[in-house]
Symmetry: C2
Subunit: 236 residues, 2 copies
DNA sequence: TACTGTGAAATCTTTCACAGCA
DNA sequence: TGCTGTGAAAGATTTCACAGTA
């Protein structure tokens, strides 16, 4: 099977691999923008601080995309990754919660590219409901979620609501038929059946940095990664 | 050794464990607020969707905090975790980049609690430099980082700058003596020696949800986690 | 020759299952 | 008795090292 995406059980691909695929895609976009046509796994590893064997193995779950003795054609591999990740279709996102964070996320470049789009925000604050963040991007009342979805399918909900109501909103979102949720609320949620929840817990991230901070009297040299391990994705 | 924090090489504790400690602390705070005095590992697991053996093992790296036959005293364990995580001292954070995201993070509750404080933002935009986000929280010019730090030590820098300048700002931050960095910029950074970098890549998080979205013609039932695995922290 | 693709080994992480203690 | 603390087993992930091929 040459240069062909094989059919693979997607649920058998680990999350770690999935996240790296997304990083590989970004690296390839950088290379393409720089006019690079061909890249070997070693060059990728060198330039982007990756592991070359891991790169090859991650790709191998999906097919054979390289040319032995040469490497990978950058535009080809990029397109394969776009297809593998499912970024070859329009993905519509709704943000639940139009506070500080929800509003910032609505404007985040990474959520508004090519085929990814934030299409609406939902809140319950009467001062916010009805307002437009920018042309075409309005804040609706949470109770309008179901009718909105009928006219404008939503693939991913982003949870950026107050902790108190997070569980409730998650259940509303699930009941509305949204099966993928990116959660920013720092709380342990009960995940409704059939829903995939990806949590980004900013406080946990900070606290794990605090854990490694040198304590009084220590000199902090121990921070250097003594094994020389690449920091990819055990940091994410 | 009873009820005593043992000395353990902090660098031998895995990141996964570290992140869970932070979650355990939050759960205990919830229990304490509810007036619960004592909790067993099984009750913790039940209530917060954790794994009881993992909970016990994570704690065991640091000492013996429980009482056999009984469980853990909630306030005691909470205090132990605060000490273990290093949250028993004032931690000062600076945010590099006063755009959408940087500004939202400056106001994020999880970064402004008890002993964690955002103490300044840094940007280069003349329209922003000098402004106050709120009393006591000012935006400074990036070139003022070194003098600022002399008067107000900073333990953690948060990187929320444009992709183009991320590497440069990371190096400035490192040169200023800040050894811990929480990075929000979606790029593979070269990590200066002695610096600990924790990356939060929002685009990667979304794309890994997209990967699992049902494709045209599929019915998406496969989204249910067939092994019944608990979603803790392979989702974070 | 210089690379990819890949089994096999090494390492890391979770889970089991039970000895031992309050 | 009912729990913790913990070795040992199982499982997941990374890394090695090389056969195979353009």
């Amino acid at each position: 099977m040459l240069n062909k995406e094989s059919h693979v059980k997607r649920d058998e691909i680990s999350n770690l691999t999935t996240r790296r695929l997304s990083i590989y895609l970004r690296c390839l976009q950088t290379l393409e923008a720089a006019g690079v046509e061909t890249v070997s796994s070693h060059e990728m590893a060198e330039q982007f601080h990756l592991n070359s064997a891991q790169f090859r193995k991650d790709l191998a779950y999906f097919g054979e995309f390289g040319v032995r003795g040469v490497g990978y054609r950058v535009p080809d591999l990029k397109h394969h990754l776009i297809r593998i990740l499912g970024l070859d279709r329009r993905i519509r996102m709704a943000i639940m919660g139009a506070g500080n964070l929800g509003t910032a996320l609505a404007g985040y470049g990474g959520f508004n590219t090519d085929n990814l789009k934030v299409t609406a925000l939902f809140d319950t604050d009467p001062d916010k409901v009805g307002r437009f963040l920018r042309p075409g991007l309005q804040i609706h009342h949470v109770s309008a979620l179901n009718p909105f979805i009928l006219g404008h399918p939503v693939h991913i909900a982003v949870l950026a609501v107050p902790t108190m109501v997070a569980q409730e909103v998650l259940e509303q979102v699930a009941a509305a038929g949204i099966r993928s949720v990116l959660n920013f609320v720092p709380v342990r949620l009960k995940v409704p059946a059939g829903v995939r929840l990806q949590s980004v817990d900013l406080k946990v991230q900070v606290e794990s940095l605090v854990f490694h901070l040198p304590r009084e009297g220590e000199d902090g040299q121990a921070l250097v990664d003594h094994k020389g391990k690449d920091p990819i994705l055990h940091t994410v």
